[in-house]
Amino acid sequence: MLRATLKSVLSRKLRLVLSGLAVVLGVMFVSGAFVLTDTLGRSFDGLFATAFQNTDVTVSVKSTGPAQGFDDDQKLTATVKPETLEKVRGIDGVAKATGIVSADGARVIGSNGKVITSFGPPRLGENWTGENDLVKLREGRAPQSGTEVVMNAGLAKSAGVKVGDQVGVLTTQPKKTFTLVGITEYSGGRDSLGGSMVVSFHESVAAELMLGTPNVYSSVDVKAAAGKTPEQVRDSVRAALGDSFEVKTGAELQKAQTAGAKEALGFFNKILLGFAGVALFVGTFLILNTFSIIVAQRTRELALMRAIGASRKQMIGSVLVEAVLIGLFASAVGLGLGIGVGSLLAWVFGNVGSASLELAGIGVPPAAIISAFSVGMIITLVAALLPAMRASRIPPVAALQEAATPDRPLTKVTVVGSLVTAGGATLLLLGLNDKLGDSSLYGFFGGVLLAFIGIALLTPMLARPIVGVIGRLMAWSVPGKLGRLNSARNPRRTAITAAALMVGIALITGVNTVFTSAEASIQKIADKEVNADLIISGDPSDERPATFDPAVIDKTKAISGVTGFSADYFDVAHALGEDRSVTIMTDVPAYAKMFKLTAKEGEIRALGPDEVLYDEERAKEKGLHVGATIEVQLARGQPRQMKLVGIYAKSSTTGGLILPTTLIGELQVAQPSWGYVDVADGVSVDGVRKQVDALLADSPEVTVANRNDFVQQQTSAFDTVLLMVQILLALAVLIAVLGIINTLALSVLERTRELGLLRAIGLGRFQSMRMITVEAIVISVFGALLGVVVGSGLGAAIVRALKDDGFSTFAMPWTAMGTYLALGAGIGVIAAILPALRAARVNVLQAISYE
């Protein structure tokens, strides 16, 4: 039995390759993700190990204030005072203690006038503490005054600057220009540590620029005296300084940093695995279909086996053995390719831009091997199980009959499909509406998966009518008509092939629908609630809010034709027992006018010291009314009691606590992030825009735009994300294309005799190809149509569930949907090429005398 199976597999190499390819691609994605994250993870280990090699112990102040910026990990900055540094120096076992200034947010303006952006690694501003084992000057010298800086080679390269250049840097203060006097490198000649950008200022200005207060430090670096371990020193420093200080060894710090990076990588890994899952899910359809067709074509052979005494178990076994072989082979190839792809991506990550992450050797973690084989085998076996059971039910007498496979009724599969779809939809909606508690997200994804399976089960029923309609659109010629009829011939086969394409297109359409709705919602808010004529804002996808020079505020107000101006400062404050984002508006009445902010309780007016405004929803949640006292602590301030003077009605443009301008000095960064300009009627908005633009010359992080351009700026990030999603889902679509090729190739094989007959009665070669092409297009357009419909349904469900989170408008991405359908037709044409050539090459004589 085994030998018979092996021979059968080997005699059909093409079939092996095509069905195996789906598994190969899926497994490649899975193992590639593991290899990539493993390699990057170990590279980060190495990175942080060298980054802390000079630090035995570090001392910082425990923060009681709000989180710094928008990063939860870094609590603000109670800074270390010079007295503390002196005290540390006096502790027994401390050989050397250095006051360190280091904070994120030193944004260098490149030679092109634009701020150098970073995708993840921090942009640190530090005090120059001299060369050491880790940092060396590659060129130039150390900064000797407050107007000189050095920077690491990676940053200098990105910025396109060299020693001697004047370089603008944004810090907690607006743009200041420095002379670049030196360029540093790290041990081993590295340009940067994992892409971090470091500007080192002279000791005299670093603290003021980066920490907002002169003459303080963010931490103290301690070198242990000979004969003391870092742990001993840590303990004695801790004992000497008391509880208000955080004292850690370099090793502990390294561990914490690595853990943070690993967490981010883990998340990244999950996203990649998610897309791999989609690809494998689609691959399952392909394999299922291939095995079904193979079993149908081998009916006679299998029946003969039964007739000469093979048991049902042996029949199932024979199909499953074939699946195991394909699974093993494909997993191995997929793993190999995955290692290649993972290494390649790791290399790209390490070398893109100025990252220069020193890659640890490419490693193949056990997880990659285990997951590659288990995923490959399980998918193949699950997909082969149904066809195997069908094979076992072939009666021996089929060996003697004309191999006519009667259409099995679709009732059962339709009923099951409806139930599964309904179940999936319910689970999906429950998940979306947070009815399942902690498992809502799983509920949602599980629901999507179930719904796809259910709809796939329903497709055979849908295939006949819909394929008929699609077919009629392109079946104006005889070959076209024959192609259309062929595609409706085996609804199950057509349906599964199309369903595979449906999955990819549906996900893309769903995501697109959500983004389009988000754009439409923003547009609607802009149209209805925004009266500001010009808006100053930065890149919305940037992690830190962009800032601009506060001097712009008064200068803008002075432009003739400007009737109102308000700027927003943002920060996180500790208030009502939590860290909350707060806003300071420079001109509350002007803002209220431009954004139709209305009072629900109390009044909306310019705020005096210790007066605050709050939004309706959150005030209600906390049971607050006008006159209530709220304790607020800002980054640089002490807790203070503030009086609630007004509660504003729900607004799409602002929310949370609004504080008085008197508190600007207590913010982490005392620079505004947004500005809104009201221009008098009859005055050219564009003329004013140009003047404001000129004022922003030294604030390159922000731009000024009219309302429409602003909406476009805000939504441009969606396009990038959408593009990424489309690229990642392209693999799923590619596998679906393989499925169409496979189905057509097997159908052509099955209908060799028919093709021969058609050729004998006068069908030309080109007409044969056209017939196959139409069949392919009908299948792929059917799949794309299902995908577009299911996807917009999915998108609609998500948009509806997020109605309260700002999705006020539902909009369909019509153009994109049209594109996907056209893409479907294109996919059909491409998928048809090989099978069509095969059909055209059918030898008429052999085909008709072929038994």
Binding site: L482, A488, E754, I761, G762, G764, R765
Partner: protein
């Protein structure tokens, strides 16, 4: 019994020729494995005649028909259908030839299961982009007696009915020659007789040229002329055959007389 095997490039005198093979050789393989299927065969098939090709298995009768129909290439010699030289034609010309001048009837019926009987019948015309001549279509349908079966699909028809659909399909395009390969091989004797009478009638009434390969003496007896093949050569010929004369000839050839 006369034995008149056409030789050389002799052209039919008086009766126009529908198809002709001229010193045709068909050799498969080479060297040791070489098999000669046709050995310098020359034959002329008169227009408006029903010709049967007979011979034992391996005699080359199917090969001869395939070569005459342009389905298979010849190793040497040439083949004409009507005034057209088939030998050396490229695929495009062959396709046109099949559309305009040749019709086929197969042992396995070979109907398209996705099309109705009517669609199957008009398929060659549709492929060629022509409209069926309504009057002729009706004549053909009535002759084969399928009027009430036109909307049925092949799976809903009996074997005899399917073969009649196949005959109608071959006739409806009015080809120069219809080639029938064992058309009754898969039918019971009653259905077979129906199909054969129908083929003979279409020769008598419509002047259709038909060439049929068969090994059944009864089927051959419907023909106007029977050509006997053995070992790749034409060995005998019979006009106005009956089942008995055909059987006799076969027996004589079998015993090598």
């Amino acid at each position: 019994m006369t034995l008149t095997v056409a030789q050389g490039s002799a052209t039919g005198q008086g009766t126009p020729v529908a198809a002709r093979a001229n010193q045709v050789w068909k050799v498969y393989g080479s060297g040791e494995a070489q098999v000669v299927a046709l050995r310098e065969v020359s034959v002329e098939l008169q227009r408006g005649a029903f010709t049967a090709i007979m011979g034992p298995s391996g005699s080359g009768k199917s090969t001869l028909m395939h070569c005459l129909a342009g389905l298979d290439s010849v190793t040497r010699g040439d083949v004409h259908i009507g005034q057209t030289k088939v030998t050396g034609m490229k695929d495009k010309a062959l396709t046109k030839l099949r559309r305009d001048q040749v019709g086929f009837i197969f042992q396995q019926f070979n109907l398209l299961p996705t099309l109705t009987a009517e669609e199957n019948i008009t398929l060659p015309l549709s492929i060629a982009g022509r409209k069926p001549d309504k009057a002729w279509f009706d004549t053909v349908i009535d002759t084969v007696g399928l009027r009430d079966r036109l909307k049925h699909r092949p799976t809903q028809l009996s074997g005899g009915q399917q073969q009649r659909v196949a005959c109608a399909r071959a006739l409806v395009a009015r080809p120069e020659v219809i080639f029938a390969d064992e058309p009754t091989g898969n039918l019971d004797s009653k259905s077979g007789a129906e199909v054969l009478s129908f083929l003979r009638n279409s020769v008598r009434e419509f002047g259709q040229t038909i060439v049929m390969v068969t090994h059944d003496p009864v089927a051959a007896s419907y023909a106007d002329r029977v050509i006997f093949l053995a070992d790749g050569s034409i060995v005998s010929e019979l006009y106005e055959p009956t089942a008995d004369t055909v059987l006799d000839t076969m027996k004589r050839l079998d015993t090598g007389a």
